[in-house]
């Protein structure tokens, strides 16, 4: 557990740093670089975390990454929450449906798989 917390703070610090790097307002000239900084650092975090996943759990890994990549629902919520009706809102609405199919489906199927691994 202790080790777990230490890892937590390690990751937290990494991300805090990445976050600070990207806090600059978008209109500033180097905003693209900040986004890329976050991206590259996150790739490294992903690389190290994923190499530690045991091969037996590669199937749950795929379904859980599938579920969390549906975080694109954030963009869909932004699009659907505008007050003007139109293409943009409709697309947002459809995207919410698609992404939530994925979120619920992905997490439930992962849960089912992990349950099987837990019982002896």
């Amino acid at each position: 557990m202790d080790c777990c917390f230490r890892d937590f703070f390690d990751h937290f610090n990494d991300l805090m740093f990445m976050h600070m790097a990207s806090m600059a307002p978008p209109e500033c000239a180097s905003s693209g670089i900040h986004g890329i900084t976050v991206f590259v650092l996150a790739c490294f975090v992903g690389y190290y975390v994923v190499w530690r996943v045991t091969p037996a759990l590669h199937a749950p890994l795929m379904s859980v990454t599938n579920a969390i990549s549906s975080v694109v629902i954030v963009g869909a919520l932004l699009a659907a929450s505008q007050n003007i009706y139109g293409f943009s809102k409709t697309f947002g609405f459809l995207a919410i449906i698609l992404a939530s199919v994925n979120i619920f489906g992905g997490f439930i199927v992962t849960h089912r798989m992990l349950d099987m691994f837990r019982k002896k």
Binding site: P26, S69, V71, A80, F93, M113
Partner: protein, 456 residues
């Protein structure tokens, strides 16, 4: 500020969701972390846009959630690969829709400056939409192939290359001119590109393709994150993207092929070996009955079971577990050896064995167990073929040459459960079928195993 902090915590939760998977005991906890993360992300978004439209959006979530839960609770573990492929396509399409939304109403996402929409946002909008579209159509094709509804067709490599370069040109054109119709054409062509990229790829390469599409869905999410200047999407997309990329790398290494080979030269591997297997009609193999097999198994002191896709199609895992239990009671040491590319997606065999409640301590990876074949009495191969083929070690002309294999031939007796004497997906004949110490048990793997249980 609150919103940013919530996004940050959500990102940490996602990292924990993956980190949890480093051991089977704590993996469920990781999954809950992921759920918390996605809930926090949604809450944060509601805080930032206000709850004026929350009613409609919650309805949308309920509809999607209902469909998703229905699919996920009903799907059988054998059909897992196609379900995952189907879900990837949804992420891709959602990314395309969000990109379109951003294209039609840039003011909403605060990506408009004094000189119009930011150039950086345009690039990423185009990229996000293109990758999303490729993910969508590619995953749909992969889904149909895995589900056995579409056999695949040959597409010349130059068509792919041409279309890819055309899409890139369109992307540059769109960024410089900001014409919406170019954006629509770009997305449409990306849909076509995704379909023809995946169409010619063969069944054996499916584990690579499924993980590659997983990676694409991540990059698409990242692209949308760049467009909307949203760190959470960038971080999550990058993590998912690198996860998929690592899995594809592991799968490619398991087959001793490079990713480019899989994507572009997939059709060639099959054709060169077709003449090899038809000429050797003189070879004979030893066919055995379930009773013979039961006798051999009972007198063995250690047995290694090698499952392949055949186990998944015949649902033999429960019968296998039962057989393993009986043997273990008799004092036989039973273990399971899993090749990295066995099945249709990474880790597919492990899930099926876990479904039959085989303890994960008895399940070994290629490197851990390969040496033990020499000292084991029986290798019990269930519907696996190419991953055991010794041609991969010595036949330089073989299409699977160099692929790491499970050396089942070194065991005292090899029991091969197969539906027919046909070749595997790589289209290469397996000389092991004709070896002295091999006994073939032709027929449905589940039925044969049940017969063996009866005979025990």
């Amino acid at each position: 500020m609150v919103v940013d902090v919530l996004y940050l915590i959500a990102a940490v939760c996602f990292i924990f969701a993956l980190k949890g998977l480093s051991s089977p005991q704590f993996a469920s906890r990781g999954n809950y972390c992921g759920i918390v993360g996605i809930v926090l992300a949604c809450v944060a978004t509601y805080i930032s846009v206000g709850v004026s439209c929350a009613f409609y959006t919650l309805i949308a979530i309920a509809i999607g959630g209902g469909i998703g839960s229905c699919i996920a609770t009903r799907v059988s573990m054998t059909d897992l690969p196609q379900m995952v492929a189907g879900f990837h396509s949804l992420v891709g399409l959602a990314a395309v829709l969000v990109a379109f939304s951003a294209c039609f109403a840039p003011e909403l996402f605060e990506i408009i400056g004094i000189n119009g929409v930011y150039k950086s946002s345009l690039i990423e909008m185009g990229l996000g939409s293109a990758i999303g579209a490729v993910t969508f159509s590619g995953s749909v094709i992969a889904f149909l192939k895995l589900d056995g509804r579409y056999k695949g067709s040959d597409v010349p490599v130059f068509v792919n290359t041409f279309l890819l370069s055309f899409v890139i040109c369109l992307l540059i054109y769109f960024v410089t001119t900001e014409i919406v119709s170019v954006f629509i054409l770009l997305t449409f062509l990306s849909f076509v590109l995704g379909a023809i990229l995946i169409a010619p790829i063969g069944g054996a390469d499916m584990p690579v393709i499924v993980s590659m599409l997983n990676s694409y869905s991540g990059w698409a999410t990242s692209g949308i994150g760049f467009t909307l200047h949203n760190d959470l999407l960038i971080i999550t997309g990058a993590i998912v993207g690198s996860s998929g990329a690592i899995l594809s790398y592991i799968m490619c290494k398991g087959m001793n092929r490079s990713l480019l080979d899989v994507i572009f030269c997939s059709g060639q591997a099959n054709s060169s070996n077709k003449n090899g297997d038809s000429s050797d009609v003189s070879k004979t193999c030893k066919n055995g009955s379930a009773e013979d097999a039961a006798f051999i198994l009972k007198n063995a002191s250690s047995v290694i079971v090698v499952p392949g896709y055949g186990m998944a199609t015949s649902q033999a895992q429960h019968a296998l577990k039962e057989m393993g239990d009986i043997l273990q009671k008799e004092g036989v040491k039973v273990r399971y050896a899993i090749h990295p590319v066995a099945g249709r997606m990474p880790g597919h065999m492990n899930v099926l064995l876990a479904e039959a409640s085989v303890s994960y301590e008895d399940v070994c990876e290629l490197d851990e167990i390969n040496r033990d074949f020499a000292s084991c009495d029986v290798a019990y191969v269930v519907g696996a073929n190419d991953v055991t083929n010794p041609a991969a070690k010595h036949d330089t002309s073989s299409s699977i040459y160099g692929m790491p294999i499970l050396e089942v031939g070194k065991a005292k007796t090899v029991l091969f459960l197969k539906r027919s004497m046909g070749v595997g997906y790589a289209g290469v004949d397996n000389e092991l079928f004709y070896a002295q110490n091999t006994m073939m048990l032709l027929g449905d793997a589940k039925k044969t195993t049940e017969d063996i249980i009866k005979a025990l």
